[in-house]
Symmetry: C2
Subunit: 125 residues, 2 copies
């Protein structure tokens, strides 16, 4: 698949796809004419990257953890350095914090909206 198609499939500007590649987050082959050529799975990959990016993780970190998240479950895990383990644990904990924070505020918004709705209905009676 060429970059335009990938772009529409992922609703991601072409510019960013090239940027993600430059940052080592996605890979592409090249057609004889120099055009990028993507495999099917890259679509999911891009969506995952965007999700993580949108959740506030920098590309630097995403690049580090992506290889560990890749869904075609690696059969035998190659040499995980203690360094890598530390990074992963750290990021895992940071993610947990973010989740907690978001969850708390998500609930607060939900509660607020509920209350507002009740209020609105009440004012009609």
């Amino acid at each position: 698949m060429r970059i335009g198609e990938l772009s529409t499939h992922t609703r991601t500007p072409v510019r960013l796809l090239r940027y993600y590649e430059e940052q080592g987050l996605i890979a592409s082959d090249r057609l004889p004419n120099g055009y990028r050529d993507y495999e099917e799975y890259v679509v999911d990959r891009v969506l995952q990257v965007r999700g993580l990016l949108d959740a506030g993780l920098p590309t630097r970190i995403i690049k580090q953890i992506l290889p560990c998240l890749n869904t075609p479950r690696t059969i035998h895990m190659p040499y995980v350095t203690p360094d890598m383990v530390a990074t992963l644990e750290h990021e895992r904990d940071r993610m947990a914090e973010k989740i907690e924070c978001l969850t708390k505020n998500h609930r607060a918004i939900t509660d607020y909206l509920d209350a507002a709705r009740r209020d609105t209905r009440a004012s009609y009676r």
Copy 2:
């Protein structure tokens, strides 16, 4: 409390406290000499702001939704414009997406680490 104290309490650079104020996320009185003077509750506020910021929300949005999250449960909700409701619903949904994405990846990291640990133990036997 003056800015230095707030800074240590929240482990937040003074620079950023002033920035958050400039963005309308926190408020301060002024002492006769021009120093900023914060009330106790601002500590929590700063932590909340940082959490949201760290989770990827821009100050613009935080500023909009903060008034709705403020814990001293407002007794009667003042005129919530339909506009505001729409914004809140939108942000709520975006937060839900982020939570989902982070949760998924958090689990993936956790699983990966578990597998790696098993692998390591196995190689000792």
